[in-house]
């Protein structure tokens, strides 16, 4: 029972924080500048890691699909098709979100947590600034807008990685692979992936910000909050992956 009480208390605090976050900004121009800054820190700075991971993920999917479909009854274009669908349906959104939960989530939790323990959040409150909104809303806007672009980059680079691995290592021909990625293509899969990305971006940013905002203590607690941010975001991403898949693909 104490565990349930604690869970409900935390949920209540989380939704109360969101209520504060979505209140009217004091000065939209200041929030705009802050949002542009977050586009760089949380968005542009994540392109590198998403590109690298997607490239190798695409390569591995292609090789594994090739080694598992060596039987001549399977057409060769299955390799490209498998790579495309795996990348679009799961890797570009869910796996990328798990990676971003580690990179962006821990960064958000530690940044806000450090501001809490060094009284910078108190300083904002004393000035009459809605600290929750000022610190979290620009991050939410930035990730909700930018993460879908990261997903699209992940899809393109992932398929490119698959094509390069497949053709350079000789497991498929370029023609077969390209035929495969065009075969029975369902555009809705992209929409599905982007919808998931938006949900995951919200989870990563809000859960991590929540962990950082309510840090109580010192640097040790900031570290713990950062870890909790990654763990809770990851679990919620996996849970919502199931829910959204059932809702969107059934």
């Amino acid at each position: 029972m104490p565990g349930m009480f604690k869970f409900l208390t935390q949920m209540g605090r989380y939704f109360m924080l969101l209520q504060k976050v979505f209140s009217v900004p004091e000065k939209p121009s200041v929030y705009y500048k802050q949002t542009m800054r977050e586009f760089v820190f949380l968005g542009l700075n994540s392109i590198g890691i998403i590109t690298i991971i997607s490239f190798f993920m695409g390569a591995v999917i292609t090789l594994q699909t090739a080694y598992n479909t060596e039987n001549p009854i399977y057409p060769k274009y299955l390799i490209g098709l498998g790579c495309r669908d795996s990348i679009i349906l799961e890797f570009s959104s869910t796996v990328a979100a798990l990676i971003l939960a580690g990179k962006v989530g821990s960064s958000i939790a530690s940044e806000i947590g450090t501001m809490r323990v060094t009284e910078q959040i108190d300083a904002l409150e004393i000035m009459g600034v809605n600290s929750a909104s000022y610190l979290i809303l620009p991050k939410l806007i930035a990730t909700l807008i930018f993460n879908p672009f990261l997903t699209l980059i992940g899809i393109i680079v992932g398929i490119l990685g698959g094509w390069m691995a497949g053709t350079f290592l000789g497991v498929t021909t370029s023609e077969d692979f390209i035929y495969g990625i065009q075969y029975a293509f369902i555009p809705y899969y992209i929409t599905y992936s982007l919808i998931k990305t938006v949900f995951f971006a919200f989870i990563i940013t809000s859960v991590s910000a929540f962990q950082g905002y309510y840090v109580d203590g010192g640097s040790l607690e900031v570290g713990r909050a950062s870890t909790k941010a990654v763990v809770y975001s990851s679990i919620l991403i996996l849970l919502f992956n199931v829910i959204l898949t059932q809702l969107l693909l059934s």
Partner: protein
């Protein structure tokens, strides 16, 4: 003027402040003194509304502050400036941006006007040619002075200082104390300073309250403090061996 009536504050059932009543006068440097853990910071944070009090009244002039809603408190907070123990400068902003922050947030001044005001405030606290530096590049004393400049940038009616000279050498500490006193008189602010530094008390103590274990034990000024018959206060004031010797000589 700030008036506190019968203020009580507890954390998880542990009473931290008990029946505090005091009036802090405008144009004076009001000091709250006491040992570490006596409840000074909790009192200061309760006065500025960072802690919700259990019962009692906090009056800012003729406004009952603790009964105001978030928006009402926000309006009063625009008239507050606060210097935190660790300065609480925003790490990601330069000195100039830190001091400009309240101006950006709450005024419609042009960039030139804001820059003029920032330079005026920085000059007033003797910070010169450091506008583009980040807080991490400043010494402890400089950080405190920048924090004071930020606190006075909007011409506040109320200035709160939590341990303004903690971690500073005696000479810098005296300079910070003198600066706070000068600014208080210059702008007719109601200034409340938390300190356990006896140099500050003897320099700035126009009005002093002594807190021990969350209870106000004594109230007076720097001239009366040496002749008090409050045992707890005497233990605090004459804590070191030199002070004890001087007292015995008297």
């Amino acid at each position: 003027m700030i008036k506190i009536n019968h203020l009580y504050k507890s954390f998880n059932g542990r009473v931290v402040l008990e029946d505090i009543s005091v009036t802090f006068e405008a144009g004076k440097t009001n000091l709250i003194i006491g040992q570490s853990g006596s409840g000074k910071t909790v009192l200061l944070k309760s006065i500025v509304g960072l802690h919700e009090i259990d019962s009692g009244e906090i009056w800012y002039g003729d406004i009952l502050f603790n009964k105001l809603d978030f928006t009402g408190k926000k309006e009063i907070r625009k008239e507050m400036g606060m210097l935190f123990q660790g300065s609480a400068l925003f790490d990601s902003l330069t000195v100039e941006q830190n001091v400009m922050f309240p101006l950006d947030m709450f005024t419609d001044k042009t960039l030139d006007e804001k820059t003029d005001r920032v330079n005026f405030c920085l000059n007033r606290v003797n910070i010169i040619n450091s506008n583009k530096l980040f807080p991490a590049e400043l010494s402890g004393g400089m950080r405190k002075r920048v924090a004071i400049a930020r606190a006075i940038s909007l011409n506040p009616k109320y200035l709160f200082c939590d341990e303004p000279n903690s971690g500073l050498d005696p000479i810098t500490a005296i300079l910070i104390d003198a600066l706070i006193k000068e600014l208080t008189e210059e702008y007719s602010m109601t200034t409340i300073v938390n300190t356990h530094d006896m140099n500050s008390v003897m320099e700035n103590g126009e009005k002093i309250i002594f807190i021990s274990d969350g209870v106000k034990c004594w109230e007076g000024n720097k001239n009366e403090i040496l002749t008090s018959d409050c045992d707890k206060l005497n233990d605090f004031v004459f804590a070191n061996s030199l002070a004890k010797k001087l007292r015995s000589l008297k």
